[in-house]
Amino acid sequence: MCLGLPGQIKSITGEDPLFKSAQVAFGGVQRQISLMYTPDAQCGDYVLVHAGFALSVIDQDRASTLLSALESETSENKAT
């Protein structure tokens, strides 16, 4: 039950924040997911879903930079 899945919002329905929901695609499967906790999520956004609730809008710009940092370290090492 604790496993979260990333999915993409296809359409949004409802105005009342308590009952606002979205069709979210997980690969080929679509499910109705509550947007109560991600009221600002937009169509096309990817959200992380737990037990039928979107808990976070996934932010591509905040992906980890560790690997690129490591890579530039290695290339510096090679250069010297």
């Binding site: 039950m1 979260g4 990333p6 808990l55 976070s56 980890s64 490591l70």
Partner: protein, 364 residues
Amino acid sequence: MKYVDEYRRPEKILRLRDAMHQLVSRPWTIMEVCGGQTHSILHHGIDQLLPDPVELIHGPGCPVCVTDTSLIDQAIELALTPGICLCTYGDMMRVPGSIESLFSARAKGARIEIIYSPTDAVTFAQQHPDLNIVFFAVGFETTAPASAAAVLMAEALSLDNFYLLASHVRVPPALEALMQNKDCRVQGFLAAGHVCTVMGYHEYHQLAQTYHVPIVVTGFEPLDIMEGIYLCLRQLETGKHAVENQYRRCVREQGNVHAQEAIHKVFQVVDMPWRGMGVIPASGFSLNRHYVHRDASVLLQHAPTTSKTNTNDPCLAGQVLQGIIKPPACPAYGKSCTPEHPLGAPMVSSEGACAAYYHYYGHL
């Protein structure tokens, strides 16, 4: 699938493995807190990629495993009561109570619906006004917002037949309890990324400082876990103990404030029994005084009992959940205890460490 496939690319994972091998100079023991991470580690063979001196031990983050036997007993009692239907996540069905599981109770006529989301239980309550619907609300801070939402929805819809058997657990007090155990071997934590999605990680700074442990908020894909381990090792090797966030694409320091608001509106922090670990102070959520009318214990015929402890219980779940032993060290593992015939919750759950070992390593 986006946000999955790109975090499974072997070349990046191997790049991190090489960096780790260069970095490590001595033995370190790191605990991944979440059972979902344990499964990912064994499934992708991450434990095999680490430098020899680095050991991963598995933590208590399996919600099914830590739910106390007394709660399973109460759920069964409710489900067997005429006029009540228990709605539960499927994972709970085969967890042993002190006498039997929900699964075997259903075979005897207990009324149980397996649901994907608590909202399904609310819908079910709307469709069955003649039945009292009890949602078995278990899990960590990841599922607590969904349970809170179900209560708020039931209020908004004026449903007077919707109840909660609530036993939500909180991660930070459990980590604190682990660190206070004299047998604790943990030198660094990979904190559960999804719990932090909800709660943020501001609570962890104090823990890192008090116990001098680095804590790295980590995601669930193989590349996330490799990065989490690398960042944790980098701190250990340089004598640091700070909180770092590897899972930045999903987790912000403050967490999801809307979800936290709902949790605090509906629940209160209480002491909670953990299976095999005893009562941990302030480690759970139960309904607060504004929502006691939705507490399923009013439907129980008997007062809620504390766990009928079975003194012959061969299950070492408490030690497994605290990372003191690994599953194959349990004498029952793979012999009298298998996923087909589980003796304890960690062999049942899709997030349990015993099930993960059995699935990926077999009898050993």
